[in-house]
Symmetry: C2
Subunit: 686 residues, 2 copies
């Protein structure tokens, strides 16, 4: 495992390439000659180590320890040394500086000051400072003030204790193996570094589908192991959460019920919380998937989700923990013959009536779209729909429906669309990102959570370029206003170094990849044309007769789901005006979501001027061609990226090019056979 | 496990109900007062025990032991006592009496004589005699001479050593558990009884897909266990076979190759055979799935199937063993876009050129149809196509594609169609059953083999009525001319007793069940409209874009596979004339196979006068209604069949009725959406 292949992919964006521009290196060396870091703690130790190791790798020499008066770099918590300034310090642009924020300042020829309200802030400042050098920035003058937009910046793992990962495409769990915690935690430590380096501060380590083994994670025999892992994360400023089984009072506690209004149940959870906090004093809290896809929950007892979440919240509140309550609730035993029930409506219908009834330490975790991480969905109307409830937007880094880390699909542009979505909840400019952060409705808790794409593969993510999604999520969780192309470029620089050709080619590939993937898979927002269960590869009718509420209703005349108020399920009414009107209108509805909101004939003309059927043919032919070009473009980088990375990615691009043809042919054939309308350009359809 | 429920289902057709007609019981008692069975051996002991136990159960008293001169029943091998007569004895109808045949004779008031050439024949005579009493026959005068039509009457188990059963729907393996042989063999003994009671004489106990664990069944550490099981079967006249891994010389023997023409490989197998026969002196031989669905085989070494089979045959020949070589060979990595390759052609194309090149102790095992046990297929053209090669017809008792023992599907009528199929290989009347038995081409080895439907469920087969398929296969393997309704009636009598209502209702249900199942599932011979992998439930396009060579090519105009010589794959030419002409002709092709041989518009008129689309609608609506009637008819038997059996079956009939609606609606909706042609009767299609 210690060969070059491993090391190269393993380091991700913390590879710290040596600075090759000699004048620049000299200027860096001068500015980083020595360092002082008052105070001692595991988090400060981590920051100190990162600065030392990172600078040594990039400059050839680590900064010498010095006293604060003499040091060229002074890093620490405000007030811990006169040169760090007092807590009142704010940045040049007046940015609010919350507990995770930091400043990086340098006057000409003065010392470099990395200062923050908390030790975690100091660690973030250290990583940010290192990034300046990784990306070749000038550090002659510095005046950076930064604070995360989101208080909670979380990764959800869907790891099981047998070592498997639900929807994992990069090996086995780094936490569990064969029903137990792994013995050696060094990989978890390296993972915690990666999280901290992009400002992520929370992690839930087990699957939201909590099976028998994981139900025991809150039992005393396993809590010592939980505590060991929490210690590792704590050193990097990351709080540990656990997914819990709502039926744990029965399965673990031996009670007769898990009814949230039963005092014995509440007491059981309170006692559990107390025990957990004895082992993990900064325990983050619980992540809960309740009454969803056969998981137990308050519905069993005739209670609602507020009853269910608040009871857990009360158990955690005395200790500072929170409940992350997922809104992925719908009827998963739907009859495909029933066209009135609409899964897209479900989360809003369930949760909107409960707005304002959740405790302050509950956050509802809302998937970005109303269905389930499809390549294209509208934004969930719950984001901006709930005005008196803490919200988290849930994204999926692991590429369940977007190529499973065998296809390239840089998801940051997709996430950006969701974050920048105008909900109109407080009039124009009411962005979904601000509904999630809490800013829109002055909520204290808010943020982003995302399902991890990492496993024990040597390069963490299977596809080497899928690391960009992990990185990108962290960046957006800190700053949702960051641009997708900026994130791509800085990730490439940090990962592969400064070769302009690599930056240009890889950033082009990344930025086009979502569009490419969408174009040869699901047309016009309709989704779900995948093989059941594993969700890989084309199957147009794969979910058409299923119980999951996932239909496209294609017949020989047309396709799409009528979700209008006028003639369909009325889902469009869950949005604020004018958004709702736009979706309701066949002519105003954006092309890319047309089939999500409307059932139209194949001959319907899109805003683009093309018919629906010709759009399907064109996008699939072009998409497959563009997938083939990805391979050609990657091939142009041979020698310019590490050989092992080149090979690992190339193997996947070869597969993607071939598999895109399969997508193209199956989908085109399906619609040609159904519509009988030939391709205007006479290309081969089977 | 010893409660009544268990006992009732467990005994199958050997329940030996007490004779309730008192005069009849008295006549039986008089005729069976005492018994003499000269000789001693495990097989004769089994016969003696069966007669004693069976008569006691039916009559209240077991026959008393007596000397041959005084006994009312004399049973044994010809010549072992004067009253048994000499070997030259043949039956009244001049039936040839081979090694497994027997006679049962009685002159008025004379003793009952059960005599045979072999001890196994005596055992068969005993079971036959018991059946006379089970079915209430008069035994005042008896002159039965019977001999099996097939020399090999075999069951194939697809059991794995982990205890799972590939395509098993009745629990886990009775042979293996957790990687080892089961400890207690009593259930295997009871199974051997059931086999012998219907004249089955061969069994292969492990899956034709031979994985690593089962490859070791021919290794010395496992052969003692194999021998223990063979001993159990031997006592009931059943020879044990093993499925072998063609790559065993490499995986087990450590050789560099498994090339059949390599002398070292041949020597390795010869040595293995010798070892096996040291443990199992009457070992039957090897069953081989080679070069099929990713199994290794001679193709790897550029050899053909004759090379592959003959090498194994030479290893077994000195010991009297045979090679059963499966013909299920086709391209399982086909491209759905390629319409020239036709899986239906594959077995014939592979094996026909090798006719005459196989050793005399090789038998080719040919599935009844050219595809894979679909609810409706034509008969394989290899049956009757090979004139100089031993053949076995392979049937599937386990209901992989026919309802998985949750739907009722009595398969004997389907098998009868295959057995009675006129191949025209030697002119009119050249039945497939005689191609299989060897009679048609004067081959010494021939017979039937079938994939077992039993497991460790208390009632063996899951669905209580699925026992009829197990029984029926045994009966047809002995006598392919037996009628499906006779077999049904005798099975019902033996299983449930003589209640005329039960006999009438259950036999009606059994005899209609295949037709019912076909009518709500696959229309007009097209097949494969099932969910991939597990093969349960409707999925019209489930195999349409797959690699398995299984397509229906439905588009908005029509459906079916053109397998004609004139315009299609030419598969029809594999049959002898006039069969080939009939299939080639659109007008002469039987309706039920129309879409197997022809691609036609939905508006095409069938011989029945209906259009194809209306036939699809009608058969699916009627089929679902008839499935619901099965439940109602079964309900009429409450109290008339054992309560546990009633409940077990009822649960399945409830499911079948509901699932038939799902089949109906999915298939009708699919074709309505595709064709746009409404149902002539305006019934609901979604």
């Amino acid at each position: 495992m210690q060969d070059l292949t491993y090391e190269e992919g393993y380091a991700c964006w913390l590879r710290y390439h040596a600075v090759e521009d000699e004048p620049l290196r000299q200027s860096y060396l001068r500015a980083c000659a020595s360092i002082a870091m008052p105070g001692a703690s595991t988090v400060l130790d981590a920051a100190r180590r990162e600065l030392s190791d990172g600078l040594r790798a990039m400059l050839g020499t680590a900064p010498a320890p010095a006293s604060a008066e003499d040091a060229s770099i002074v890093a620490g918590v405000f007030g811990s040394d006169p040169r760090l300034g007092a807590k009142s310090l704010t940045g040049a642009e007046g940015v609010r500086l919350d507990e995770d924020g930091f400043v990086i300042r340098r006057s000409i020829d003065g010392p470099i000051v990395l200062a923050a309200n908390t030790e975690r802030g100091v660690l973030y400042a250290a990583f940010r400072f290192l990034k300046l050098l990784q990306t070749g920035a000038s550090i002659e003058r510095l005046d950076v003030t930064d604070s995360p937009a989101n208080r909670l910046r979380m990764i959800n793992h869907w790891d099981n204790m047998d070592g498997s990962i639900e929807r994992g495409y990069a090996g086995r769990s780094i936490f569990f193996r064969d029903g137990r915690f792994v013995e050696h935690l060094s990989r978890i430590r390296d993972y915690a570094r990666l999280l901290a380096s992009v400002g992520l501060n929370a992690v839930s380590i087990n699957n939201v589908n909590v099976h028998a083994a994981e139900t025991r994670l809150i039992a005393e025999d396993l809590l010592p192991d939980v505590a060991r892992v929490a210690d590792v994360f704590r050193a990097y400023g990351v709080r540990l959460f656990l997914s819990v089984n709502y039926a744990a009072p029965i399965e673990l506690g031996g009670l007769a019920t898990a009814d949230p209004l039963d005092p014995e149940v509440a007491e059981w959870w309170a006692e559990r919380a107390e025990t957990i906090y004895r082992y993990v004093p900064d325990f983050g809290g619980f992540v809960v998937k309740a009454d969803s896809e056969f998981r137990p929950g308050p519905f069993t007892y005739g209670r609602n989700h507020a009853d269910g979440a608040n009871m857990l919240a009360d158990a955690l509140a005395p200790h500072g923990g929170i409940v992350v309550w997922r809104c992925f609730v719908y009827n998963c035993l739907q009859d495909w013959r029933d066209r009135k029930t609409d899964r897209a409506r479900a989360a809003y219908d369930h949760f909107k009536p409960l707005d304002g009834r959740f405790r302050d330490n509950v956050a509802l975790q809302i998937k970005n779209g109303p269905m389930d991480f499809q390549v294209r969905e509208p934004v969930s109307p719950l984001l901006g729909g709930m005005t008196n409830t803490n919200q988290l937007m849930e994204l999926q880094i692991t590429q369940e429906y977007t190529g499973q880390q065998r296809h390239l699909c840089y998801l940051v542009p997709q996430w950006k669309e969701a974050l920048d979505f105008d909900t109109y909840a407080r009039g124009e400019g009411s962005l979904a990102s601000e509904a999630a952060s809490g800013a829109l409705f002055d909520r204290l808790i808010g943020g982003l959570a995302a399902v991890s794409n990492i496993g024990d593969d040597p390069n963490w993510t299977g596809h080497p370029l899928a690391q960009a999604n992990f990185y990108g999520f962290g960046r957006l969780a800190w700053d949702p206003r960051a641009a997708a192309d900026d994130i791509a470029r800085e990730w490439i620089r940090m990962t592969f170094g400064g070769d302009p050709q690599v930056i240009r080619v890889v950033s082009d590939m990344l930025l086009q990849s979502w569009d490419i993937y969408e174009s040869y898979t699901a047309p016009l927002g309709v989704g779900w044309m995948v093989n059941p269960n594993h969700h890989y590869g084309p199957n147009v009718d794969g979910y058409e007769y299923a119980k999951w509420g996932t239909y496209h209703f294609a017949d020989r005349q047309g396709i799409g789901v009528d979700r209008t108020v006028a003639s369909g399920t009325g889902y469009t009414s869950q949005y604020h005006s004018p958004r709702s009107d736009r979706y309701e209108s066949l002519s105003a509805c954006p092309d890319e979501l047309l089939l999500f909101f409307h059932h139209v004939p194949y001959t319907h003309l899109l805003a683009s001027g093309k018919s629906v059927i010709q759009h399907i043919y064109d996008s699939h032919f072009e998409g497959a061609d563009r997938a083939a070009e990805l391979l050609a473009r990657w091939d142009s980088l041979q020698g310019a990226v590490p050989e092992a990375t080149f090979r690992e990615a190339r193997e996947r691009f070869v597969h993607q090019a071939e598999h895109a043809k399969e997508w193209r042919d199956q989908i085109n054939t399906y619609f040609y056979r159904k519509s009988g309308i030939p391709d205007a350009h006479g290309r081969t359809i089977y």
